[in-house]
């Protein structure tokens, strides 16, 4: 006998459920967790470095670095002053909730205020896999070109914050900021945006101030 059974289940529900478990652990520890996503070379690790240097001393910081191979990024985050854990995905082009969960026992979550998860450099796959982090942050960069929102709509639609890095290169590159911003506005109206240069330090103060208020608000929310 053939019978039709109603399912109605999100196809990535296994990952989504694990992401929720990760989130519960972050909340229990009272830490704020961010997922940094970007194309390769946009400056994820540079932003991690300057962020860690700015906040070290005030907050306890940890970084989970995802890469296909090497521990170069975790080494840079550690040198900047964070507790850093490297995940090597061994070929996978994105982090998923399982990989993040496996990295958590290496960290004392109760002794962390801000956890940055640095995803694998890729503007496609990471957008589909929730990790349990509280906010998705996209780091765009000027040399990538102004057409990226139009070409990678899934990534631009799913983020809470957009950092535009390498603005010091604007005079040297054909990058139409109005065209770029129009693409962003279509996909993610009103998204919080921080134009910065990790090299010159331009704009970083706004980014760091925002982060400080986020960490403090989050701590109050979880405690309350």
């Amino acid at each position: 006998m053939v019978e039709k059974i109603k399912v109605i289940e999100n196809i990535l529900s296994a990952n989504d459920n694990l992401a929720q478990e990760n989130r519960a652990r972050f909340d229990q520890a009272g830490l704020l967790a961010l997922n940094f996503m970007a194309s390769p070379g946009a400056g994820k690790t540079s932003l991690v470095e300057v962020t860690v240097k700015s906040l070290a001393g005030r907050f306890r910081l940890a970084v989970i670095d995802g890469d296909i191979a090497t521990s170069l990024d975790a080494d840079r985050a550690a040198a900047a002053g964070a507790i850093a854990v490297q995940i090597n995905t061994g070929g996978e082009c994105h982090l998923d909730a399982v990989m993040v969960r496996e990295a958590l026992p290496l960290l004392d979550l109760d002794a962390i205020d801000l956890l940055i998860v640095e995803n694998v450099g890729n503007l496609v796959c990471p957008a589909s896999f929730q990790l349990g982090t509280h906010k998705n942050i996209l780091i765009a960069s000027i040399p990538e070109g102004d057409d990226k929102p139009y070409k990678y709509p899934g990534m631009y639609r799913g983020v809470a914050v957009l950092v535009i890095n390498k603005i010091d290169l604007l005079p040297y590159v054909d990058f139409d900021m109005d065209f770029f911003k129009r693409g962003v506005e279509l996909l993610n109206p009103g998204v919080l945006t921080f134009p910065v240069s990790c090299k010159t330090g331009d704009g970083l103060l706004n980014w760091v101030e925002w982060l400080v208020s986020e960490i403090e608000n989050h701590r109050e929310k979880v405690a309350g």
């Binding site: 399912v7 990952n15 082009c93 279509l186």
Partner: protein
């Protein structure tokens, strides 16, 4: 999209529901995929034939129901299907829009033999 992970996930869900219905065989899977989810049907089918082998769902047919993107303008409230990549409102040209359909990505039902 990441078709192999997606296909493995799909199999896990189908087997779980099939087993709880005491199915001897899962014959069909009905997927609902929004246009914005950018899943490649052929690629899922390719992986499906491999991952479903020697399971309850071996050889099951995959049915893809595609949902077109629908947008609602937050300024003039008109609803429209975007033409191409431009998601702005054709009525008032606003870029303040909300996606109301096209992000679906779920398994709706399965057919089982008991």
């Amino acid at each position: 999209m990441h078709e192999l992970s997606v296909t493995e996930s799909l199999l896990e869900i189908a087997l779980r529901h099939g087993k709880s219905a005491n199915a001897s065989h899962i014959t069909d899977l009905y997927l609902v995929i929004g246009q914005l989810s950018s899943l490649i049907d052929d690629s899922v089918q390719f992986y499906w034939d491999i991952v479903s082998k020697d399971t309850l769902a071996e050889g099951a047919n995959l049915h893809f129901q595609r949902i077109s993107t629908q947008i609602r303008c937050l300024d003039c409230a008109s609803c429209f299907v975007p033409a191409g990549e431009d998601l702005s409102c054709p009525n008032c040209l606003s870029t303040r829009i909300e996606v109301t359909a096209g992000e679906e990505f779920f398994l709706e039902a399965i057919n089982v033999e008991t």
